[in-house]
Amino acid sequence: MEQKEREKILEVRDLSVGFVSHGKKVSVIRDVTIDVYQGETLAIVGESGSGKSVFTKTFTGMLDANGYISSGSIIFHGEDLAKKVKHSEWKGIRGKRIATIFQDPMTSLNPLLTIGYQIAEVIVLHHDVSMKEAKEEAVKLLEKVRIPDARNRMKDYPFQYSGGMRQRVVIAIALACRPEILICDEPTTALDVTVQSQILELIKELQREYKWTTIFITHDLGVVANVADRIAVMYGGQIVEYGTAEDIFYTPQHPYTWALLSSLPQLGMKNEPLTYIKGNPPSFVNEIVGDAFAIRNDYALRIDFLQDPPMFKISDTHYAKTWLLDPRAPKVEKPKIIQNLRERMRQAAIELKREVGDNHE
């Protein structure tokens, strides 16, 4: 596909991240390898505790004080970000070339400073301009993220903005630095569905204009169908499946991806109980032997409890890490809901009076 011609902006190789907790070392990210291509939107999907946030925090050196990169590399324009330790080394990268938007905009904004000042402050910091010029630029940015009456609202404080508007402000601050990579860490989880769809639309539009690369983190597969070019599914500190959005939604291969998809309430049928994933994500306190998902997996083979599966190639774009893809593995019947996935999605769309297009099989 076209990705082959695309330039890689970030190459993550065998990255492992450890944490020291109660004097004990635990491994939270385990040998993750993935490429991020210039200009794409890569969604990283997983439950709480899958390591998705920790993984992307390594790109900006924002691991908590007790966390450290134990091995591997993150190559960004020829530089290895994994080798950067000191605060000063991150200058010019964190926030500038790689920016992050977090879930709760209130925690990213200072409640005591005006919106206008907070945006202008960032502009002054990263560009060589006066405060006055920066404020002019800030108005333009607020207009870009569609804050109505931007000039007057510069003087407002964060509490005077609604949740959706605050998230727009945070996006405006990220825009101020013209980042090459924008990491969106659950940017819409705290928002209403109507606001969520508007924010997603905004991020997509601005990406088209500014041509940055988006890394989108979420626990809700339903949200990313709209935004993602490629999707990586994370579980237990590893990427267990990745591929294009169509690979993941139409022909998922990993039992964990099956489980994530089947638990979406949009695909639930009235009169039958919703499916869900039994048990809890693994705790990293004890060392994980074999496949981390094995104990919750209805399709687990004996080998899953003994040996970690390798990444199997399904197509040029699609990879999954499950023993089920080994040629020696028994043929299993996918869960019903996954077998009829396209049909269910189509039904859900028709019920909501959505256009389904004609390119459906």
Binding site: L274, M345, A349
Partner: protein, 346 residues
């Protein structure tokens, strides 16, 4: 204007002759098929800060029927939580009244009645980590209600009830000695549900019970609420902001915008025949897990200014077809009726 009707309200009034004890005990329905457990009659709720009064809910008329799961959907600030909190008397109302089994439970009521409401209506909250006492173990949390109302005979009876309940929510008796922080979000929410269910309530008010949870574990909490509702024949007021969630669980859905119900009907019907533009915008925002469908998606943004309401032609809640209520003025009403007549084609 006069054909504006209160949702499902029939003209007949029931007469309230109950024994002194158990004022809130159920009496057989006066009219067949019309059996509301909670009724909001012209309710007005406002908050005051100094001399500034902000009206959050005005002219709210709503009946929640016995045994149904009623989904109340709206965005932040729409007043959906306030409605739930007014029913359990956390928020005071400044106009109208609320009745439970035909007995007024708003305003000044006797202490005995307050106690009764507290046992018969239970809440499930959004954030299970904020709503559970971090310093109390699970046993204490679950049995707090039992203790407060002396709903057990002796210590062994209490323990039996608590153990029975913890199993029902899918946890184990050995979890009783642990503290909330030792559990995951989904487990904590199940503890919250156990704490409510042990009171054997007639009604549950679930205020965004799954919004703070991962999608992968939302389903088990939804299933659990539904199971309890079936088993105990409870009434549930399910408050949410996401239509895809309430569609699955609710019998009827009310859409609330800016303190007013704008549309109310059976869950399936709302999806078949959405009429109010705000309902349509909510429907358009539900993400479909299908990349090809989503790429064709058109988000409908609702602008309240799009209605041409005037003083002569003010909107009201009208019944456009049996059981289907929409807030409209007379010209919109005519339009909606036409749409229904044509089977939904605009």
């Amino acid at each position: 204007m006069s054909n504006a009707v209160k949702p499902d309200k029939m003209p007949a009034k029931r007469d309230d002759k109950h024994s002194k004890n158990g004022l809130l005990d159920k009496v057989p329905p006066f009219v067949d098929g019309y059996d509301p457990i909670v009724s909001l009659n012209d309710v007005r709720i406002s908050f005051k800060r100094g001399s500034v009064e902000r009206v959050v809910i005005e002219h709210m008329n709503l009946d929640i029927m016995r045994g149904e799961i009623f989904g109340l959907v709206g965005e932040s600030g729409s007043g959906k939580t306030t409605v739930g909190r007014a029913i359990i008397r956390v928020n005071k109302i400044s106009g109208g009244n609320i009745t439970y089994n035909g007995v007024k439970i708003s305003g000044k009521i006797s202490r005995g009645l307050t106690r009764e409401i507290k046992t018969k209506i239970q809440m499930i909250f959004q954030d299970p980590s904020a709503s559970l006492n971090d310093r109390a173990n699970v046993d204490y949390i679950i049995s707090e209600g039992l203790r407060a109302f002396h709903l057990y005979e002796d210590e062994s009876d209490r323990l039996e009830k608590v153990e029975d309940m913890i199993r029902k929510v899918g946890l184990r008796p050995e979890h009783l000695k642990r503290y909330p922080h030792e559990f995951s979000g989904g487990q904590r929410q199940r503890i919250g549900i156990a704490r409510s269910m042990i009171m054997r309530p007639e009604m549950i008010i679930a205020d965004e019970p799954i919004s703070a949870l991962d999608v992968s574990i939302r389903a088990q909490v939804l299933n659990l609420i539904k199971e309890f509702q079936k088993e105990m024949q409870m009434t549930v007021l399910f408050i949410a902001h996401d239509l895809s969630v309430v569609k699955y669980i609710s019998d009827r859905i009310g859409v609330i915008y800016n303190g007013k119900i704008v549309e109310l009907t059976a869950a399936e019907r709302l999806f078949e025949m959405p009429l109010h533009p705000y309902t349509k915008s909510l429907l358009s925002a539900v993400p479909i897990p299908d990349p090809r469908v989503e790429k064709l998606k058109k988000v409908i943004v609702y602008h309240p200014q799009e209605h041409q309401y005037t003083h002569e032609d003010e909107p009201q809640l009208y019944e456009v077809e049996p059981g289907h209520f929409v807030r409209a003025n007379s010209s919109e009403l005519a339009n909606y009726k036409e749409i229904i007549g044509k089977g939904g084609i605009e």
